[in-house]
Protein backbone atom coordinates (compact mmCIF):
# COMPACT_ATOMS: atom_id res chain seq x y z
CA UNK A 1 0.00 0.00 0.00
CA UNK A 2 1.37 3.40 -0.98
CA UNK A 3 1.58 6.12 1.57
CA UNK A 4 -1.08 8.74 1.09
CA UNK A 5 -0.83 12.22 2.46
CA UNK A 6 -3.80 14.42 3.08
CA UNK A 7 -2.49 16.39 6.04
CA UNK A 8 1.23 16.24 5.55
CA UNK A 9 1.46 16.43 1.75
CA UNK A 10 3.24 19.79 1.84
CA UNK A 11 4.96 19.43 5.14
CA UNK A 12 8.45 19.45 3.64
CA UNK A 13 7.87 22.51 1.43
CA UNK A 14 10.03 25.40 2.64
CA UNK A 15 7.92 28.26 3.94
CA UNK A 16 4.78 26.16 4.40
CA UNK A 17 4.68 27.31 8.04
CA UNK A 18 3.95 30.87 6.90
CA UNK A 19 0.71 32.19 5.45
CA UNK A 20 2.15 32.97 2.02
CA UNK A 21 3.73 29.56 1.64
CA UNK A 22 0.57 27.87 2.81
CA UNK A 23 -1.64 29.85 0.44
CA UNK A 24 0.68 29.20 -2.47
CA UNK A 25 -0.12 25.52 -2.06
CA UNK A 26 -3.87 25.88 -1.92
CA UNK A 27 -4.13 26.90 1.71
CA UNK A 28 -7.41 28.60 2.69
CA UNK A 29 -8.97 27.76 -0.70
CA UNK A 30 -11.22 25.31 1.13
CA UNK A 31 -12.28 27.96 3.60
CA UNK A 32 -13.06 30.37 0.76
CA UNK A 33 -15.13 27.73 -0.99
CA UNK A 34 -17.04 26.83 2.17
CA UNK A 35 -17.82 30.40 3.18
CA UNK A 36 -18.98 31.21 -0.33
CA UNK A 37 -20.99 28.17 -1.26
CA UNK A 38 -21.76 26.01 1.77
CA UNK A 39 -24.07 26.44 4.72
CA UNK A 40 -22.76 25.43 8.15
CA UNK A 41 -24.99 22.36 8.03
CA UNK A 42 -23.57 21.39 4.67
CA UNK A 43 -20.08 21.35 6.24
CA UNK A 44 -21.36 19.15 9.06
CA UNK A 45 -22.92 16.87 6.45
CA UNK A 46 -19.58 16.36 4.67
CA UNK A 47 -17.89 15.52 7.96
CA UNK A 48 -20.62 12.98 8.69
CA UNK A 49 -20.24 11.40 5.25
CA UNK A 50 -16.48 11.22 5.67
CA UNK A 51 -16.76 8.79 8.55
CA UNK A 52 -14.00 10.74 10.34
CA UNK A 53 -13.43 9.47 13.86
CA UNK A 54 -11.84 11.46 16.65
CA UNK A 55 -8.06 11.25 16.47
CA UNK A 56 -7.50 12.05 20.15
CA UNK A 57 -7.83 8.45 21.26
CA UNK A 58 -11.43 7.38 21.65
CA UNK A 59 -12.29 7.26 17.93
CA UNK A 60 -15.78 8.67 18.36
CA UNK A 61 -17.40 9.72 15.04
CA UNK A 62 -16.81 13.45 14.67
CA UNK A 63 -19.91 14.25 12.62
CA UNK A 64 -22.08 12.59 15.23
CA UNK A 65 -20.36 14.48 18.04
CA UNK A 66 -20.97 17.72 16.20
CA UNK A 67 -24.65 16.93 15.72
CA UNK A 68 -25.07 16.48 19.49
CA UNK A 69 -24.08 20.11 20.11
CA UNK A 70 -26.96 21.89 21.85
CA UNK A 71 -28.03 25.10 20.20
CA UNK A 72 -30.16 27.11 22.62
CA UNK A 73 -31.06 30.63 21.41
CA UNK A 74 -28.82 33.42 22.56
CA UNK A 75 -26.20 31.18 24.21
CA UNK A 76 -22.69 31.18 22.73
CA UNK A 77 -21.20 27.88 21.56
CA UNK A 78 -17.54 27.06 21.61
CA UNK A 79 -15.10 24.90 19.75
CA UNK A 80 -12.07 23.90 21.78
CA UNK A 81 -9.09 22.20 20.17
CA UNK A 82 -7.35 19.67 22.35
CA UNK A 83 -3.63 20.19 21.78
CA UNK A 84 -2.64 18.75 25.12
CA UNK A 85 -0.86 15.80 23.50
CA UNK A 86 -0.03 14.19 26.77
CA UNK A 87 -0.51 10.48 26.17
CA UNK A 88 2.94 8.86 26.35
CA UNK A 89 4.01 7.74 22.89
CA UNK A 90 2.07 10.49 21.15
CA UNK A 91 3.87 13.38 19.45
CA UNK A 92 1.96 13.82 16.21
CA UNK A 93 0.03 17.00 17.01
CA UNK A 94 3.20 18.84 17.90
CA UNK A 95 4.62 17.88 14.49
CA UNK A 96 1.55 19.08 12.64
CA UNK A 97 1.30 22.37 14.55
CA UNK A 98 4.98 23.12 14.28
CA UNK A 99 5.33 22.30 10.59
CA UNK A 100 2.03 23.42 9.15
CA UNK A 101 0.22 25.60 11.70
CA UNK A 102 -2.16 27.15 9.18
CA UNK A 103 -3.70 23.75 8.46
CA UNK A 104 -4.94 23.62 12.04
CA UNK A 105 -6.10 27.24 11.87
CA UNK A 106 -7.98 26.68 8.62
CA UNK A 107 -9.55 23.59 10.19
CA UNK A 108 -10.52 25.61 13.26
CA UNK A 109 -12.23 28.29 11.15
CA UNK A 110 -14.09 25.72 9.03
CA UNK A 111 -15.17 23.72 12.06
CA UNK A 112 -16.18 26.79 14.06
CA UNK A 113 -18.24 27.96 11.10
CA UNK A 114 -19.93 24.55 10.89
CA UNK A 115 -20.76 24.63 14.61
CA UNK A 116 -21.79 28.28 14.74
CA UNK A 117 -19.06 29.24 17.20
CA UNK A 118 -17.80 32.81 17.19
CA UNK A 119 -15.01 32.28 19.64
CA UNK A 120 -12.76 29.24 19.66
CA UNK A 121 -9.78 28.11 21.65
CA UNK A 122 -6.72 25.97 21.18
CA UNK A 123 -5.60 24.54 24.52
CA UNK A 124 -1.99 23.48 24.18
CA UNK A 125 0.18 21.77 26.77
CA UNK A 126 2.39 24.26 28.60
CA UNK A 127 5.58 22.47 27.59
CA UNK A 128 4.83 23.38 23.96
CA UNK A 129 5.24 27.10 24.58
CA UNK A 130 7.41 27.39 21.49
CA UNK A 131 4.61 25.83 19.44
CA UNK A 132 2.16 28.25 21.04
CA UNK A 133 4.37 31.05 19.72
CA UNK A 134 4.28 29.52 16.24
CA UNK A 135 0.49 29.30 16.38
CA UNK A 136 0.10 32.86 17.63
CA UNK A 137 2.25 34.12 14.80
CA UNK A 138 0.12 32.20 12.31
CA UNK A 139 -3.08 33.48 13.90
CA UNK A 140 -1.83 37.08 13.65
CA UNK A 141 -1.12 36.50 9.95
CA UNK A 142 -4.63 35.14 9.50
CA UNK A 143 -6.19 38.16 11.21
CA UNK A 144 -4.15 40.49 9.02
CA UNK A 145 -5.48 38.74 5.89
CA UNK A 146 -9.10 38.91 7.05
CA UNK A 147 -9.27 35.15 7.63
CA UNK A 148 -10.11 35.68 11.30
CA UNK A 149 -11.98 38.43 13.10
CA UNK A 150 -15.10 40.23 11.93
CA UNK A 151 -16.84 39.42 8.66
CA UNK A 152 -14.35 36.84 7.46
CA UNK A 153 -13.70 37.23 3.72
CA UNK A 154 -16.90 39.29 3.45
CA UNK A 155 -19.07 36.35 4.47
CA UNK A 156 -20.66 38.00 7.48
CA UNK A 157 -19.21 35.26 9.71
CA UNK A 158 -17.13 36.39 12.74
CA UNK A 159 -14.58 34.31 14.60
CA UNK A 160 -11.97 35.01 17.24
CA UNK A 161 -9.33 32.38 17.90
CA UNK A 162 -7.18 32.20 21.03
CA UNK A 163 -4.37 29.83 22.01
CA UNK A 164 -3.85 29.20 25.68
CA UNK A 165 -1.39 26.97 27.55
CA UNK A 166 -1.73 24.28 30.20
CA UNK A 167 0.77 23.89 32.98
CA UNK A 168 2.06 20.31 32.92
CA UNK A 169 -0.68 17.84 33.83
CA UNK A 170 -1.52 14.78 31.74
CA UNK A 171 -5.08 14.77 33.03
CA UNK A 172 -5.82 18.03 31.20
CA UNK A 173 -5.95 15.98 27.98
CA UNK A 174 -9.23 14.55 29.27
CA UNK A 175 -11.80 16.88 27.79
CA UNK A 176 -13.62 18.01 30.94
CA UNK A 177 -10.37 18.48 32.87
CA UNK A 178 -9.20 20.49 29.90
CA UNK A 179 -12.26 22.73 30.17
CA UNK A 180 -11.65 23.25 33.88
CA UNK A 181 -8.07 24.16 33.12
CA UNK A 182 -9.16 26.49 30.34
CA UNK A 183 -11.34 28.22 32.92
CA UNK A 184 -8.21 28.84 34.99
CA UNK A 185 -8.75 26.07 37.52
CA UNK A 186 -7.15 22.80 38.64
CA UNK A 187 -7.57 20.05 36.09
CA UNK A 188 -10.17 17.96 37.88
CA UNK A 189 -12.39 16.05 35.43
CA UNK A 190 -16.11 16.77 35.70
CA UNK A 191 -18.78 14.20 36.31
CA UNK A 192 -20.63 13.38 33.09
CA UNK A 193 -23.41 13.95 32.23
CA UNK A 194 -23.84 16.75 31.50
CA UNK A 195 -21.57 16.32 28.50
CA UNK A 196 -19.64 19.26 27.07
CA UNK A 197 -22.01 19.31 24.09
CA UNK A 198 -24.65 20.58 26.53
CA UNK A 199 -22.58 22.21 29.28
CA UNK A 200 -18.97 22.77 28.41
CA UNK A 201 -16.79 25.85 28.58
CA UNK A 202 -18.30 28.35 31.05
CA UNK A 203 -21.42 26.21 31.11
CA UNK A 204 -22.07 26.71 27.38
CA UNK A 205 -22.40 24.04 24.67
CA UNK A 206 -18.89 23.05 23.56
CA UNK A 207 -17.23 20.66 21.17
CA UNK A 208 -13.77 19.42 22.10
CA UNK A 209 -11.75 17.90 19.28
CA UNK A 210 -8.17 16.79 18.82
CA UNK A 211 -5.74 18.77 16.62
CA UNK A 212 -5.56 16.06 13.97
CA UNK A 213 -9.36 15.69 13.86
CA UNK A 214 -9.77 19.40 13.20
CA UNK A 215 -7.01 19.45 10.62
CA UNK A 216 -8.69 16.55 8.77
CA UNK A 217 -11.79 18.69 8.26
CA UNK A 218 -9.84 20.68 5.64
CA UNK A 219 -9.29 17.81 3.15
CA UNK A 220 -12.76 16.48 3.92
CA UNK A 221 -14.44 19.73 2.92
CA UNK A 222 -12.03 20.22 0.06
CA UNK A 223 -12.41 16.78 -1.52
CA UNK A 224 -15.86 15.93 -0.18
CA UNK A 225 -16.83 13.52 2.57
CA UNK A 226 -17.37 10.62 0.19
CA UNK A 227 -13.92 10.90 -1.33
CA UNK A 228 -12.42 10.86 2.17
CA UNK A 229 -14.54 7.86 3.14
CA UNK A 230 -13.27 5.96 0.10
CA UNK A 231 -9.82 5.94 1.69
CA UNK A 232 -9.24 3.31 4.36
CA UNK A 233 -11.19 0.19 5.25
CA UNK A 234 -14.72 -0.14 6.62
CA UNK A 235 -15.34 2.21 9.52
CA UNK A 236 -11.69 3.23 9.62
CA UNK A 237 -11.76 5.92 6.97
CA UNK A 238 -9.12 8.36 5.84
CA UNK A 239 -5.57 8.75 6.96
CA UNK A 240 -4.07 8.75 10.45
CA UNK A 241 -0.94 10.26 11.86
CA UNK A 242 1.07 7.65 13.68
CA UNK A 243 3.86 8.72 15.98
CA UNK A 244 6.26 5.82 16.17
CA UNK A 245 8.80 5.56 18.96
CA UNK A 246 10.78 3.16 21.09
CA UNK A 247 13.33 0.82 19.57
CA UNK A 248 12.71 1.51 15.89
CA UNK A 249 15.27 2.07 13.17
CA UNK A 250 13.39 5.16 12.04
CA UNK A 251 11.03 6.56 14.66
CA UNK A 252 8.97 9.60 13.72
CA UNK A 253 5.58 10.85 12.58
CA UNK A 254 4.01 9.11 9.59
CA UNK A 255 0.75 9.73 7.84
CA UNK A 256 -0.70 6.37 6.85
CA UNK A 257 -3.79 5.31 5.01
CA UNK A 258 -5.88 3.38 7.53
CA UNK A 259 -5.68 -0.26 6.54
CA UNK A 260 -1.91 -0.40 6.08
CA UNK A 261 -0.59 -3.64 7.52
CA UNK A 262 1.22 -3.39 10.83
CA UNK A 263 4.01 -5.49 9.31
CA UNK A 264 4.60 -2.95 6.57
CA UNK A 265 4.43 -0.09 9.02
CA UNK A 266 7.10 -1.56 11.25
CA UNK A 267 9.36 -3.04 8.60
CA UNK A 268 8.57 -1.15 5.38
CA UNK A 269 11.09 1.16 3.76
CA UNK A 270 8.58 4.01 3.64
CA UNK A 271 7.98 3.70 7.35
CA UNK A 272 9.94 2.59 10.41
CA UNK A 273 12.40 0.22 8.65
CA UNK A 274 12.36 -2.37 11.38
CA UNK A 275 13.78 -2.62 14.84
CA UNK A 276 16.81 -0.52 15.75
CA UNK A 277 20.26 -2.15 15.61
CA UNK A 278 18.87 -5.20 13.87
CA UNK A 279 17.29 -6.55 17.02
CA UNK A 280 14.08 -8.54 17.24
CA UNK A 281 10.62 -7.26 18.05
CA UNK A 282 9.45 -8.20 21.53
CA UNK A 283 6.23 -6.26 22.00
CA UNK A 284 4.27 -3.24 20.90
CA UNK A 285 1.87 -0.77 22.47
CA UNK A 286 0.13 0.48 19.34
CA UNK A 287 -2.04 3.37 20.54
CA UNK A 288 -0.42 5.29 23.40
CA UNK A 289 0.48 4.13 26.90
CA UNK A 290 -3.14 3.52 27.93
CA UNK A 291 -3.81 0.69 25.50
CA UNK A 292 -2.99 -2.99 26.09
CA UNK A 293 0.47 -4.23 25.14
CA UNK A 294 0.77 -6.90 22.43
CA UNK A 295 3.45 -9.61 22.50
CA UNK A 296 5.39 -9.99 19.23
CA UNK A 297 3.24 -12.88 17.98
CA UNK A 298 0.10 -10.73 18.21
CA UNK A 299 1.55 -7.58 16.66
CA UNK A 300 1.54 -8.40 12.97
CA UNK A 301 -1.04 -11.19 13.16
CA UNK A 302 -4.26 -11.56 15.12
CA UNK A 303 -4.85 -14.62 17.31
CA UNK A 304 -6.90 -16.03 14.42
CA UNK A 305 -3.85 -15.78 12.18
CA UNK A 306 -5.06 -12.87 10.06
CA UNK A 307 -2.85 -9.98 9.12
CA UNK A 308 -3.12 -7.23 11.67
CA UNK A 309 -3.95 -3.89 10.02
CA UNK A 310 -3.63 -0.33 11.21
CA UNK A 311 -7.38 0.18 11.68
CA UNK A 312 -9.54 0.76 14.74
CA UNK A 313 -11.12 -2.66 14.22
CA UNK A 314 -8.13 -4.81 13.39
CA UNK A 315 -5.95 -3.57 16.24
CA UNK A 316 -8.84 -4.30 18.61
CA UNK A 317 -9.42 -7.76 17.12
CA UNK A 318 -9.43 -10.32 19.91
CA UNK A 319 -10.67 -7.85 22.51
CA UNK A 320 -8.76 -7.71 25.75
CA UNK A 321 -7.62 -11.31 25.36
CA UNK A 322 -5.44 -10.80 22.32
CA UNK A 323 -6.09 -7.34 20.94
CA UNK A 324 -5.32 -3.73 21.69
CA UNK A 325 -6.43 -0.35 20.28
CA UNK A 326 -5.44 2.23 17.71
CA UNK A 327 -5.96 4.93 20.35
CA UNK A 328 -4.06 8.12 19.72
CA UNK A 329 -1.64 6.53 17.27
CA UNK A 330 1.24 6.55 19.76
CA UNK A 331 3.02 3.44 18.49
CA UNK A 332 5.61 2.23 21.02
CA UNK A 333 7.94 -0.61 20.03
CA UNK A 334 10.03 -2.77 22.38
CA UNK A 335 13.08 -4.72 21.28
CA UNK A 336 14.10 -8.13 22.62
CA UNK A 337 16.29 -6.64 25.38
CA UNK A 338 13.53 -4.62 27.02
CA UNK A 339 12.00 -5.60 30.33
CA UNK A 340 8.22 -5.61 30.38
CA UNK A 341 8.05 -5.42 34.17
CA UNK A 342 10.21 -2.35 34.18
CA UNK A 343 8.06 -0.67 31.56
CA UNK A 344 4.85 -1.61 33.33
CA UNK A 345 6.23 -0.10 36.53
CA UNK A 346 7.29 3.02 34.65
CA UNK A 347 3.81 3.52 33.22
CA UNK A 348 2.20 2.82 36.61
CA UNK A 349 4.39 5.49 38.12
CA UNK A 350 3.26 7.83 35.36
CA UNK A 351 -0.43 7.27 36.12
CA UNK A 352 0.09 7.54 39.84
CA UNK A 353 1.93 10.81 39.32
CA UNK A 354 -0.76 12.14 37.00
CA UNK A 355 -3.91 11.08 38.86
CA UNK A 356 -5.80 14.25 39.77
CA UNK A 357 -6.63 12.69 43.11
CA UNK A 358 -10.35 13.28 43.35
CA UNK A 359 -11.50 9.62 43.29
CA UNK A 360 -9.99 7.31 45.87
CA UNK A 361 -9.88 4.14 43.72
CA UNK A 362 -7.69 5.98 41.22
CA UNK A 363 -5.65 8.08 43.65
CA UNK A 364 -4.88 5.20 46.01
CA UNK A 365 -5.03 2.36 43.49
CA UNK A 366 -2.51 3.89 41.08
CA UNK A 367 -0.20 4.52 44.03
CA UNK A 368 -0.49 0.92 45.24
CA UNK A 369 0.13 -0.47 41.78
CA UNK A 370 3.20 1.69 41.47
CA UNK A 371 4.54 0.41 44.80
CA UNK A 372 3.88 -3.24 44.05
CA UNK A 373 5.40 -2.99 40.59
CA UNK A 374 8.36 -1.11 41.97
CA UNK A 375 9.15 -3.95 44.37
CA UNK A 376 8.61 -6.59 41.71
CA UNK A 377 10.87 -4.80 39.26
CA UNK A 378 13.58 -4.44 41.87
CA UNK A 379 13.57 -8.09 42.88
CA UNK A 380 11.77 -7.51 46.16
CA UNK A 381 8.37 -8.83 45.22
CA UNK A 382 6.58 -12.08 45.89
CA UNK A 383 4.41 -14.33 43.79
CA UNK A 384 1.19 -13.15 45.40
CA UNK A 385 2.07 -9.57 44.41
CA UNK A 386 1.25 -10.51 40.84
CA UNK A 387 -2.28 -11.46 41.81
CA UNK A 388 -2.53 -8.47 44.10
CA UNK A 389 -2.02 -6.28 41.04
CA UNK A 390 -4.89 -7.97 39.27
CA UNK A 391 -7.04 -7.40 42.34
CA UNK A 392 -6.21 -3.67 42.63
CA UNK A 393 -6.93 -3.42 38.94
CA UNK A 394 -10.44 -4.76 39.28
CA UNK A 395 -11.17 -2.30 42.04
CA UNK A 396 -10.14 0.71 39.99
CA UNK A 397 -11.72 -0.28 36.71
CA UNK A 398 -15.14 1.29 36.19
CA UNK A 399 -15.18 2.95 39.62
CA UNK A 400 -13.86 6.36 38.78
CA UNK A 401 -15.03 9.72 37.44
CA UNK A 402 -12.85 9.74 34.36
CA UNK A 403 -11.13 7.06 32.27
CA UNK A 404 -7.65 7.70 33.71
CA UNK A 405 -8.31 4.97 36.24
CA UNK A 406 -9.05 2.46 33.48
CA UNK A 407 -6.13 3.75 31.46
CA UNK A 408 -3.86 2.96 34.39
CA UNK A 409 -5.37 -0.45 35.08
CA UNK A 410 -5.61 -1.96 31.59
CA UNK A 411 -1.95 -1.87 30.61
CA UNK A 412 -1.00 -3.65 33.84
CA UNK A 413 -3.59 -6.34 33.26
CA UNK A 414 -2.42 -6.85 29.68
CA UNK A 415 1.25 -7.02 30.67
CA UNK A 416 0.53 -9.73 33.24
CA UNK A 417 -1.71 -11.61 30.82
CA UNK A 418 0.95 -11.82 28.12
CA UNK A 419 4.18 -11.73 30.09
CA UNK A 420 3.36 -13.44 33.36
CA UNK A 421 6.53 -15.54 33.29
CA UNK A 422 8.59 -12.37 33.19
CA UNK A 423 6.93 -11.10 36.37
CA UNK A 424 7.56 -14.49 37.96
CA UNK A 425 11.19 -14.41 36.90
CA UNK A 426 11.65 -11.21 38.91
CA UNK A 427 10.40 -13.05 41.98
CA UNK A 428 12.49 -16.16 41.44
CA UNK A 429 15.65 -14.25 40.43
CA UNK A 430 15.82 -11.34 42.88
CA UNK A 431 19.57 -10.83 42.60
CA UNK A 432 19.59 -10.73 38.85
CA UNK A 433 16.56 -8.46 38.83
CA UNK A 434 18.36 -6.02 41.12
CA UNK A 435 21.62 -5.94 39.29
CA UNK A 436 20.55 -5.60 35.70
CA UNK A 437 22.30 -3.04 33.62
CA UNK A 438 20.42 -1.47 30.76
CA UNK A 439 23.47 -0.09 29.07
CA UNK A 440 24.77 3.38 28.45
CA UNK A 441 23.62 5.65 25.66
CA UNK A 442 27.02 6.58 24.35
CA UNK A 443 27.64 7.51 20.72
CA UNK A 444 29.62 4.28 20.36
CA UNK A 445 26.82 2.12 21.73
CA UNK A 446 24.39 3.62 19.26
CA UNK A 447 26.67 3.41 16.24
Amino acid sequence: MKSRNLLLSHVEVPGIDGLDGYMKHGGYDTLKKALKSMSPDAVVEEVKKSGLRGRGGAGFPTGMKWSFLAKPEGVPRYLVCNADESEPGTFKDRYLMEKIPHLLIEGMILSSYALGANQSFIYIRGEFMYVLNILEKAIAEAYAKGLLGKNILGSGYDLDLVVTPGGGAYICGEETALLESLEGKRGNPRIKPPFPAVKGLWGCPTVVNNVETIAAVVPIVSEGGEAYASIGIGRSTGTKLISACGNLARPGVYEIELGLSVEEFIYGDDYCRGIAQGKKLKACVPGGSSVPILPHYLVTKTAAGENRLMTYESLAEGGFESGSMLGSGGFIVFDEDQCIVRNTWNFARFYSHESCGQCSPCREGTGWMEKVLNRLEHGKGQMHDIDLLADINKKIEGNTICPLGDAAAWPVAAAIRHFREEFEWHVTHPDEAQSRNFGLITQAALA
Partner: protein
Protein backbone atom coordinates in the same frame (compact mmCIF):
# COMPACT_ATOMS: atom_id res chain seq x y z
CA UNK B 1 -0.77 13.30 42.44
CA UNK B 2 0.34 16.20 40.38
CA UNK B 3 1.31 18.72 42.98
CA UNK B 4 4.51 17.96 44.78
CA UNK B 5 6.26 21.13 45.69
CA UNK B 6 5.18 23.29 48.57
CA UNK B 7 5.51 27.02 48.14
CA UNK B 8 8.34 28.72 49.97
CA UNK B 9 7.20 31.87 51.70
CA UNK B 10 9.31 34.75 52.85
CA UNK B 11 7.02 37.38 54.40
CA UNK B 12 9.56 40.14 53.82
CA UNK B 13 9.82 39.50 50.13
CA UNK B 14 8.32 42.10 47.85
CA UNK B 15 8.05 41.84 44.14
CA UNK B 16 7.37 44.30 41.35
CA UNK B 17 5.98 43.50 37.95
CA UNK B 18 7.75 45.61 35.34
CA UNK B 19 5.64 47.82 33.07
CA UNK B 20 6.53 45.54 30.14
CA UNK B 21 5.34 42.46 32.01
CA UNK B 22 2.17 44.25 33.10
CA UNK B 23 1.42 45.20 29.50
CA UNK B 24 1.91 41.63 28.36
CA UNK B 25 -0.36 40.41 31.14
CA UNK B 26 -3.07 42.86 30.11
CA UNK B 27 -2.90 41.63 26.52
CA UNK B 28 -3.38 38.03 27.67
CA UNK B 29 -6.36 38.94 29.83
CA UNK B 30 -7.94 40.89 26.97
CA UNK B 31 -8.21 37.68 24.94
CA UNK B 32 -11.00 36.38 27.14
CA UNK B 33 -14.61 37.56 27.36
CA UNK B 34 -15.64 39.89 30.14
CA UNK B 35 -16.16 38.08 33.40
CA UNK B 36 -14.10 35.09 32.17
CA UNK B 37 -10.64 36.53 32.66
CA UNK B 38 -9.66 33.90 35.21
CA UNK B 39 -8.97 31.80 32.12
CA UNK B 40 -5.78 33.82 31.71
CA UNK B 41 -4.38 32.47 34.98
CA UNK B 42 -2.09 29.72 33.69
CA UNK B 43 -0.64 31.95 31.01
CA UNK B 44 0.02 34.67 33.58
CA UNK B 45 1.82 32.22 35.84
CA UNK B 46 4.01 31.19 32.91
CA UNK B 47 4.83 34.85 32.28
CA UNK B 48 5.68 35.42 35.92
CA UNK B 49 7.92 32.37 35.92
CA UNK B 50 9.65 33.51 32.74
CA UNK B 51 10.33 36.88 34.38
CA UNK B 52 11.48 35.72 37.83
CA UNK B 53 12.55 32.14 37.22
CA UNK B 54 10.00 30.84 39.71
CA UNK B 55 6.59 31.64 41.18
CA UNK B 56 6.72 33.05 44.70
CA UNK B 57 3.83 33.66 47.06
CA UNK B 58 3.97 37.46 46.70
CA UNK B 59 3.96 37.01 42.93
CA UNK B 60 0.89 34.77 43.19
CA UNK B 61 -0.80 37.37 45.38
CA UNK B 62 -0.17 40.03 42.76
CA UNK B 63 -1.53 37.81 40.02
CA UNK B 64 -4.65 37.31 42.15
CA UNK B 65 -5.03 41.06 42.55
CA UNK B 66 -4.46 41.53 38.83
CA UNK B 67 -7.27 39.10 37.98
CA UNK B 68 -9.43 40.27 40.83
CA UNK B 69 -9.69 36.77 42.33
CA UNK B 70 -8.80 35.34 45.73
CA UNK B 71 -5.16 34.36 46.36
CA UNK B 72 -6.25 30.79 47.13
CA UNK B 73 -7.58 30.50 43.57
CA UNK B 74 -4.04 31.11 42.37
CA UNK B 75 -2.32 28.92 44.98
CA UNK B 76 -4.51 25.92 44.24
CA UNK B 77 -3.75 26.19 40.55
CA UNK B 78 -0.03 26.85 40.90
CA UNK B 79 0.36 23.81 43.17
CA UNK B 80 -1.60 21.53 40.84
CA UNK B 81 0.43 22.04 37.68
CA UNK B 82 3.94 20.62 37.69
CA UNK B 83 5.52 23.23 35.44
CA UNK B 84 5.42 25.96 38.04
CA UNK B 85 8.46 26.15 40.29
CA UNK B 86 7.26 27.20 43.71
CA UNK B 87 10.77 27.44 45.08
CA UNK B 88 13.81 29.22 43.73
CA UNK B 89 15.60 27.15 41.10
CA UNK B 90 18.92 27.27 39.32
CA UNK B 91 19.54 29.46 36.32
CA UNK B 92 18.91 26.52 34.01
CA UNK B 93 16.34 23.90 34.94
CA UNK B 94 17.05 20.67 33.11
CA UNK B 95 13.82 18.72 32.88
CA UNK B 96 14.60 15.23 31.69
CA UNK B 97 11.77 13.00 30.49
CA UNK B 98 11.66 9.69 32.33
CA UNK B 99 8.52 8.11 30.84
CA UNK B 100 8.40 4.71 29.05
CA UNK B 101 9.23 5.60 25.44
CA UNK B 102 12.20 7.69 26.57
CA UNK B 103 13.24 4.97 29.01
CA UNK B 104 13.33 2.48 26.13
CA UNK B 105 15.99 4.60 24.48
CA UNK B 106 18.07 5.25 27.57
CA UNK B 107 16.66 8.07 29.70
CA UNK B 108 17.63 6.27 32.93
CA UNK B 109 21.26 6.28 31.96
CA UNK B 110 20.99 9.95 31.01
CA UNK B 111 19.48 10.88 34.38
CA UNK B 112 22.20 8.94 36.25
CA UNK B 113 24.80 10.68 34.17
CA UNK B 114 23.48 14.14 35.01
CA UNK B 115 23.37 13.28 38.70
CA UNK B 116 27.02 12.24 38.62
CA UNK B 117 28.21 15.01 36.38
CA UNK B 118 26.45 17.78 38.32
CA UNK B 119 27.02 16.06 41.64
CA UNK B 120 23.40 16.51 42.70
CA UNK B 121 20.31 14.35 42.99
CA UNK B 122 17.16 14.84 40.96
CA UNK B 123 15.30 17.80 42.46
CA UNK B 124 18.45 19.56 43.64
CA UNK B 125 20.36 22.61 42.45
CA UNK B 126 24.12 22.83 41.95
CA UNK B 127 26.04 24.88 44.47
CA UNK B 128 26.89 27.56 41.93
CA UNK B 129 23.18 27.96 41.27
CA UNK B 130 23.62 27.20 37.59
CA UNK B 131 21.62 24.00 37.20
CA UNK B 132 18.56 22.39 38.72
CA UNK B 133 17.95 18.78 37.69
CA UNK B 134 14.39 17.55 37.43
CA UNK B 135 12.70 14.54 35.95
CA UNK B 136 9.37 15.03 34.25
CA UNK B 137 6.76 12.86 32.60
CA UNK B 138 6.34 12.52 28.84
CA UNK B 139 7.06 15.77 27.04
CA UNK B 140 5.32 14.84 23.80
CA UNK B 141 8.52 14.24 21.88
CA UNK B 142 8.86 10.49 22.39
CA UNK B 143 10.27 9.75 18.93
CA UNK B 144 13.21 12.05 19.57
CA UNK B 145 14.30 10.71 22.92
CA UNK B 146 16.03 10.64 25.20
CA UNK B 147 15.37 14.31 25.60
CA UNK B 148 15.13 17.17 28.01
CA UNK B 149 13.49 20.53 28.13
CA UNK B 150 15.16 23.67 29.38
CA UNK B 151 12.88 26.71 29.32
CA UNK B 152 11.41 26.87 25.81
CA UNK B 153 13.94 24.53 24.28
CA UNK B 154 13.87 20.81 23.63
CA UNK B 155 17.22 19.04 23.42
CA UNK B 156 16.58 15.77 21.63
CA UNK B 157 18.31 12.52 20.65
CA UNK B 158 20.72 12.92 23.55
CA UNK B 159 23.67 10.68 24.24
CA UNK B 160 26.01 11.02 27.19
CA UNK B 161 28.50 12.87 25.00
CA UNK B 162 25.86 15.27 23.74
CA UNK B 163 24.67 15.82 27.28
CA UNK B 164 28.20 16.80 28.32
CA UNK B 165 28.50 19.19 25.41
CA UNK B 166 25.14 20.69 26.31
CA UNK B 167 26.20 21.37 29.89
CA UNK B 168 29.30 23.10 28.58
CA UNK B 169 27.22 25.27 26.27
CA UNK B 170 24.97 26.34 29.09
CA UNK B 171 27.95 26.94 31.36
CA UNK B 172 29.78 29.21 28.98
CA UNK B 173 26.66 31.06 27.97
CA UNK B 174 26.43 29.78 24.39
CA UNK B 175 22.84 28.89 25.16
CA UNK B 176 20.93 31.32 27.33
Amino acid sequence: MSHHSQPTYDPNETITFSPALTEEMKAVVAQFPEGKTKSALLRLLHLVQREFGWVSVPAMDQVAAFLNIQPIEVYEVATFYTMFHLQPVGKHVLEVCRTGPCMLVGSDSLIDHFEKKLNIKVGETTEDGLFTLKTVECLGGCGYGPLLQCKNRFHEHLTLEKADALLEQYKNGEIQ
